[in-house]
């Protein structure tokens, strides 16, 4: 492979990586970690839409703390019950604009969700921003904290 072609491949690869953390150096391990976490996140997204309790139970850390868009603090049991009982349903799923900050085995994943969600019978279409904290525990990436906030809409 010529040097020019190699540079092109590197540039393309860099362009598809999600945004790097401010002040952090890009490295192969960071790219690998981002891909690993994104894969878990994709699995979680699918499990939420299907209310797949086994998968959600595996991804959520036992002591996960969730702050939902209403400012309520939820435990793992609370959140799983929401899915199990059908109190939390995704009517459509749209999430992206990810940014990563990687600190060893801790990953801060920020993003924006435009999903349409039904929560206890009430439909919410307002976009929200979120902070997900993933940690590698016993060799597996698990979600240890989640906080969501509705994005204020122009009046």
């Amino acid at each position: 492979m010529s040097v020019g072609r190699l540079l092109l491949v590197v540039a393309l690869a860099a362009s598809v990586w999600p945004k790097k953390a401010t002040g952090q150096q890009s490295s192969p391990s960071q790219g690998r970690i981002e891909q690993e976490v994104l894969k878990v996140e994709a699995t979680r997204d699918e499990a939420m839409q299907k209310a797949d309790m086994a998968v959600l139970n595996r991804i959520y850390a036992d002591n996960i703390v969730i702050v939902n868009t209403r400012g309520h603090l939820l435990t793992k049991a609370d959140r799983l019950a929401d899915f199990k009982l059908g109190d939390l349903k995704f009517l459509s799923f749209d999430q992206g604009d990810y940014s990563f900050h990687i600190y060893g085995d801790t990953v801060i994943l920020n993003g924006r969700a435009n999903s349409v969600v039904q929560f206890h019978g009430k439909v919410n279409r307002i976009p929200r921003t979120f902070t997900l904290t993933y940690m590698k525990l016993n060799g597996e990436w698990r979600l240890v904290a989640q906080n969501e906030t509705l994005v204020e809409q122009p009046k």
Binding site: Y103, D105, P127, F130, L137, A145, N147
Partner: protein, 173 residues
Amino acid sequence: MTIVFRQLEKGSIENMEMTTIRNSALLAILALGMTSRAGPQDAVKPESDAEIQKEILAIDSQRYEAMQKRDMAALDRLHADGLVFINTKGRLLNKAEYLEEVRSGNLKFLSVDTNDYRFCIYGDTVIMNGRANSVVEYHGVVNKRPRRFTSVFIKMQGQWRLVAHQATIIADE
């Protein structure tokens, strides 16, 4: 109730950085032992967990004090370079943007009142949840609504620094 969780496995921390004090009332709460433990994967070390909580509360106290005084040097030290801050409007700010809000006076704490802390401790990463009743002036608008927040602290080169913070208005209050 405060949940303390210490994770057995914790890998190396890379790209790290720095520090800090909290008010005596909060320390008193800790001293009263409002701490419980959870999880089969815990490695219980009560003394060190309590110590970590004290350190985090001290850092957070210094952070609020620095915000009220617009002590930019202290704020720079207490926040990680990669800080991501999501405010109650759902707006995402990086460190530079957040510090500029404080420096410019666009963000002012008219009073500070935080409580109902919960800690999950995973080695050098600490998740702190809490409730804030602080009165905040943001771009000229005073906000007195209570909110829940999540703060993530990581020990970098021996010093705790805030790497992420998000606050959400409590809808029913």
